[in-house]
C-alpha cells in the first residue's frame, strides 16, 4: 500500500474521490504518524482521534451517497490554535485561555468543514502569534523536523513542523509580520500570506487587526493554492474582508496562466546582502539566475523605505496588540486569578494578566501602551503609520514596472532553540524580509530554494501587488518545477527520518 502520509493534498483528494482509499483510512494514517513522531516534534497541542475519524467518516458517507466532493475532500489538515473551532479548545498558546472552548466556528473552519477537509488537531504557536520561533508558547517549544535542536520558525511553528514532518499534508497558519512565510522557509515547505482581507478574520483571535491574515501551508504550490481557494472569499462577518472574486490561484498553480517567460521580476536591493547568511544569499542568487534562464526579465528594484519596516512594524503591531489583548481581563472567559473576595476587579484583572501572559506578550502590551500614550502618540504610532504609507508607495512604484518582487524569505536558516529567547531585537530580525509586504498588504509566498548553512532549508519570497495573489502562484509553480528538476525531486525528500516516538 502507498504510504498515505507521503501523498500531497491533491493526490490524496483524488485517491479518496476514486475510492482507492477512504478518508477515514487517510485520517487514521496521519493520526498514527502524529502518535509516532510528535513526542519528538511537539507540533500539536490538541488531538481528538474520535472526532477526527468521525469527520472523515462523514466525508466517506457523502461520497457514498453520490455528493459532489470538493477538490480537498478527505484531506487532513493541522489547524493553528488561533482559529476557533467548536468542540475543541482554543488556547492561542497562552495560559490565559487554557481550557477555553469557543462557542463558535471561525469562518475558515466553517469553510474547511463544507469542503470536507478533515481537521487533525490544533497546532502549537507563539503566544497570541507574537514571536518567530514558537518558543513563546506556554505549552512547550516545537522542534524543527529537519534538526530537532532548531526552531521551526514562528509564530505558526506547530503548523509548519506538522507539514514538514508528514503529520499533515496541509496546515493553516496566520501571518502578521511573517508568521506563515518564515516558518515555511525554515522547514522547507510552501507558505502563503494572501492579500490582507482575502481570507476572513472572523474567529481568528486578534493580535494586530490591520495586519493579521490567515493562509495555507503545504508541501507543493498546487496544494497551497487548493487550500487558499477553499478558505478565501468575502465574509460579511469580517468588515475588512474584500468583497471581490478570489484571484485565480488554482488556475495559476496549474500553469494555466502561463509561465515566467517574459515576466518582469524585481529583486529588492534592500532585502539582500549584509545581514543575510552566505548560504541564504547563495541559494537566492541561484534562484535569480534560474529565473533569468527560464526567460524572466530580472531587474533590480530599490525600495528605500523598506529599511524602516522593522521599526514601523514594532510600533504598529504592539500598539494594536495592547488594545486587542485588553479583552483578556478574566471576566468573561479564560483564566481568573486572585478572586478571593477581597480583591477588587482592577486588581483581579492585573493579577490574571500577570499570571496568564508570558514575557513577550507583556513586553508588547507595555510597548504598545507606551506608543499610544498622550505625548508619544505622534512620535511613535502616528509616525509609524506615515512610514507605512511610504512603504506602500515603494511597492506601488515597483509594481508599476515589475510583476513580482523577489527576496530571501529570512536572513538565516532555522536558529538553535534558546539562542534568541531573551533577546527581543535579535528575534525580531527574523522577520526583516517579510515585514514590508505585511505593512503593504500584498500577497507573498515562501518557496523552498534549497539547503543553506548547516544543511538546513532556505526559502525564497515571492511578492505581488494587492489582489494579484495568482502572480505568486504562477511564478512559484514554475520555479518549483525547475528547482525540483535540478534537485531530482522535492527538497523535503532530504529531510532526516524521525526516530519513532523518540524524545527530543
Amino acid at each position: 500500500m502507498t504510504d498515505l502520509v507521503r501523498l500531497g493534498a491533491a493526490e490524496t483528494a483524488a485517491a479518496v474521490a476514486e475510492g482507492t482509499v477512504t478518508a477515514e483510512e487517510v485520517a487514521s494514517a496521519h493520526l498514527d504518524r502524529i502518535e509516532q513522531t510528535d513526542g519528538a516534534v511537539h507540533a500539536f497541542l490538541h488531538i481528538d482521534r474520535e472526532q477526527t475519524l468521525s469527520a472523515a467518516a462523514a466525508v466517506d458517507a457523502r461520497r457514498a451517497s453520490g455528493d459532489q466532493l470538493s477538490a480537498l475532500a478527505g484531506v487532513p489538515l493541522a489547524l493553528k490554535d488561533v482559529f476557533t473551532m467548536r468542540g475543541a479548545p482554543t488556547t492561542c498558546g497562552s495560559k490565559v485561555l487554557e481550557g477555553w472552548r469557543p462557542p463558535y466556528d471561525s469562518t475558515v473552519v466553517e469553510r474547511l468543514r463544507d469542503a470536507g477537509v478533515v481537521v487533525l488537531g490544533k497546532t502549537n504557536m507563539d503566544e497570541f502569534a507574537m514571536g518567530s520561533s514558537t518558543e513563546n508558547s506556554a505549552y512547550g517549544v516545537t522542534h524543527n523536523p529537519w534538526n530537532l535542536d532548531r526552531v521551526p520558525g514562528g509564530s505558526s511553528g506547530g503548523s509548519s513542523a506538522a507539514v514538514a514532518a508528514h503529520q499533515a499534508p496541509l496546515a493553516l497558519g496566520t501571518d502578521t509580520g511573517g508568521s506563515i512565510r518564515q516558518p515555511a522557509a525554515v522547514t522547507g515547505i510552501v507558505g502563503v500570506k494572501p492579500t490582507y482581507g482575502g481570507v476572513s478574520r472572523y474567529g481568528l483571535v486578534a493580535f494586530s487587526s490591520s495586519l493579521d491574515q490567515g493562509g495555507p501551508f503545504a508541501r507543493s504550490v498546487l496544494d497551497a493554492a487548493l487550500l487558499h481557494e477553499v478558505i478565501a472569499g468575502h465574509d460579511p462577518r469580517d468588515a475588512t474582508s474584500i468583497d471581490a472574486p478570489v484571484p485565480p490561484v488554482v488556475a495559476a498553480a496549474r500553469g494555466e496562466l502561463g509561465g515566467v517567460d517574459g515576466l518582469k521580476v524585481g529583486v529588492v536591493t534592500q532585502l539582500q546582502g549584509a545581514g543575510y547568511q552566505p548560504g541564504v544569499q547563495a541559494r537566492f542568487d541561484e534562484v535569480v539566475a534560474l529565473l533569468t534562464s527560464m526567460g524572466a526579465d530580472v531587474v533590480e528594484v530599490s525600495c528605500p523605505s523598506f529599511e524602516y519596516a522593522l521599526p514601523a512594524y514594532y510600533l504598529i503591531a504592539p500598539s494594536e496588540c495592547s488594545s486587542n489583548l485588553a479583552r483578556f481581563d478574566g471576566m468573561r472567559y479564560g483564566l481568573r486569578a486572585g478572586d478571593n473576595g477581597d480583591n477588587g476587579v482592577e486588581q483581579v484583572m492585573a493579577l490574571t494578566r500577570a499570571a496568564g501572559f508570558g514575557p513577550e506578550v507583556k513586553r508588547r502590551i507595555m510597548l504598545g501602551t507606551y506608543a499610544l500614550s498622550a505625548g508619544y502618540y505622534d512620535a511613535y504610532y502616528g509616525q509609524a503609520q506615515k512610514v507605512r504609507t511610504l512603504i506602500r508607495r515603494d511597492f506601488e512604484a515597483a509594481y508599476s514596472t515589475v510583476d513580482v518582487l523577489l527576496s530571501p524569505t529570512t536572513p538565516t536558516v532555522a536558529f538553535p532553540i534558546g539562542e534568541r529567547a531573551d533577546d527581543p531585537i535579535a528575534m525580531y530580525k527574523a522577520d526583516l524580509a517579510t515585514l514590508p509586504s505585511s505593512l503593504y498588504g500584498g500577497p507573498a509566498m515562501s518557496l523552498p530554494a534549497g539547503l543553506g548553512d548547516d544543511e538546513l532549508p532556505v526559502g525564497v519570497q515571492l511578492m505581488a501587488a494587492v489582489q494579484r495573489d495568482e502572480q505568486v502562484y504562477r511564478v512559484g509553480v514554475a520555479l518549483e518545477a525547475a528547482l525540483q528538476d535540478r534537485w531530482g525531486g522535492p527538497l523535503l525528500d532530504r529531510i532526516p527520518e524521525l526516530v519513532s516516538g523518540g524524545a527530543a
Binding site: P236, E346, R353, I365, M366, Q385, R388, I425, G442
Partner: protein, 100 residues
C-alpha cells in the same frame, strides 16, 4: 532616547493591567529601553506631509442590513466564564470599599 526608570515602567504596567514585581519592572524596563531605541528610528524619516496608512487595503462604510439574526445562547456563552451565577457573569466588586 527616553530612558525608562522604574516608576515609568510601573506606570506602564498599571495602564496595561499587569501586576509585576520590582525585579520584573527592572528587567522589562531594560528591554523596553532597547526596543524603544530601535523603533525610534522611524523619526529619521521626513514624513510631515505624508498621510498615515491605518489599513493595508482600506474599505469604508461597511454595513449590513438592519436585520435581527440569532446570537449565541446564554448557556454557550456562560460555559466559558470563569465564574457565573444566576445566568450572569459573576465578577469581583467593581468599587473600592471606601468609595462614596
Amino acid at each position: 532616547m527616553p530612558a525608562l526608570n522604574r516608576d515609568d515602567v510601573a506606570h506602564l504596567a498599571r495602564l496595561s493591567r499587569l501586576q509585576l514585581t520590582d525585579a520584573e519592572l527592572d528587567h522589562y524596563g531594560e528591554q523596553l529601553d532597547v526596543i524603544l531605541g530601535a523603533v525610534a528610528r522611524v523619526a529619521e524619516v521626513a514624513a510631515d506631509d505624508v498621510p498615515p496608512t491605518t489599513h493595508a487595503v482600506p474599505v469604508v462604510n461597511v454595513t449590513r442590513p438592519d436585520v435581527i439574526v440569532p446570537c449565541l445562547s446564554r448557556e454557550d456563552v456562560l460555559a466559558g466564564a470563569p465564574a457565573a451565577e444566576d445566568d450572569r457573569f459573576r465578577v469581583p466588586r467593581i468599587l473600592d470599599e471606601e468609595a462614596p
